[in-house]
Amino acid sequence: MYSFDYERPSGVNEAASAIGEDDKFLAGGQTLIPTLKLRLAQPGKLVDLSGISELKGISVNGSELSVGAMTRHVDVADSADVKSAIPALAQLASHIGDAQVRNRGTIGGSISNNDPAADYPAALVGLGATVHTNKRSISAEDFFVDLFETALEDGELVTKVTFPIPEKAGYAKFPNPASRFALTGVFVAKTASGVRVAVTGAGPCVFRQTDMEAALSSNFSPDAVSGIKTEASGLNADIHASADYRANLITVMAARAVKAAS
């Protein structure tokens, strides 16, 4: 690792003023530390967010579930509030990486990193969530911009994510057998504003599958999507799977997600 300075502020405003142009926020470190170990980044300073208690925690307010940026995957997976409000979200969190990763990794770190194969982006876009920062609120669809790119400006800090509670939702992923990241994952939700289908792992960035949304709007059943294909051009191709294979996985995972929806 290159050398860097380290700071652990206790409030959001202090964190925002501690961060400089070459610095990075440190959340669970489950992406950032491996990156630093491989010398793929050289920040001047790490601003550790773990001392900021207002960034942690889960609450339900009426029709909305709120999850603080520093809430760990294990806390979302085990939360009674999440299990009763949006069981698919708890189930998604319980399948991120492995137990050790879930004991450290956070929702804020996961979405800020926007790995194309990460699980949370599918839930945020699928549920029509809102990302709150120290400066503004951003809809999930505007937040995830492109491969490893988000709408966050330099030094902008995610504080929490709010999810409208859906009628029902489901998530299914085909995990990469080595890392458990999504080779392809599909999140399906039946919400007050219609049916939403979000796909992660298959393309450079999470996206909505609108043909499936239309089909599920009139018939919310696995059969409604099992004949719907996704164009393979533009999808990811690597040693794990071709673009055609991922296109096929979208259909298979979507049907499983609808079947699992509760």
């Binding site: 690792m1 290159y2 050398s3 860097f4 300075d5 380290y6 652990r8 440190l26 470190g29 489950q30 530390i33 491996p34 630093l36 170990k37 491989l38 790490l46 550790d48 773990s50 294990v74 990486g97 492995d98 137990a99 050790q100 990763v101 004991n103 450290r104 080595a178 890392s179 458990r180």
Partner: protein, 155 residues
């Protein structure tokens, strides 16, 4: 340099370290507790697993500074008064190890697993140990060991 202080295996420890010191380096190089192993540089093998405030974590994917004030347990902290922890005894009894390189991490993960699932099924054991890789055993005897230990631990 930053000063880090924590409790490791019940003992208070403190040292001045560079901010980029990993927890595993602090444990192995500063404290000379070499039971915690490093098997990869990509955060995937789990050989470095320790408990931080009771949760299993990969000590190669955490800075020593992030463990400031924490209660850390390594494999050396499991045996009590010269007597093996039931998980260690079960690995010995059931041939849960061959070369032994993965074993400290495997045992630390398994102890956390049984804490959260006192009566784990074979399937639960296999999925909960996804973060620990073994090149030798083929896992069968590891699963057997964890099951036996869970029974001995009163699950």
């Amino acid at each position: 340099m930053t000063t880090v202080s924590m409790t490791v295996n019940g003992k208070k420890v403190s040292a001045d370290v560079a901010p980029n010191t990993l927890l595993v380096q602090f444990i192995r190089d500063n404290l000379r507790l070499t039971g915690t192993h490093v098997g990869c540089d990509t955060s995937q093998c789990g050989a470095c697993t320790v408990h931080v405030n009771g949760d299993s974590v990969k000590s190669c994917t955490m800075l020593a500074a992030q463990a400031e004030g924490a209660d850390v347990t390594t494999i050396e902290g499991l045996a009590k008064n010269g007597e093996l922890h039931p998980m260690q005894a079960a690995f010995k009894e059931n041939h849960g190890l061959q070369c032994g390189f993965c074993t400290p991490g495997m045992i630390m993960s398994a102890v956390d697993l049984v804490k959260r699932n006192p009566n784990p099924s074979e399937e639960t054991i296999r999925t909960e140990l996804e973060g620990n890789i073994c090149r030798c055993t083929g896992y069968h005897n590891i699963v057997k060991s964890v099951k036996a230990a869970a029974e001995n631990m009163g699950g």
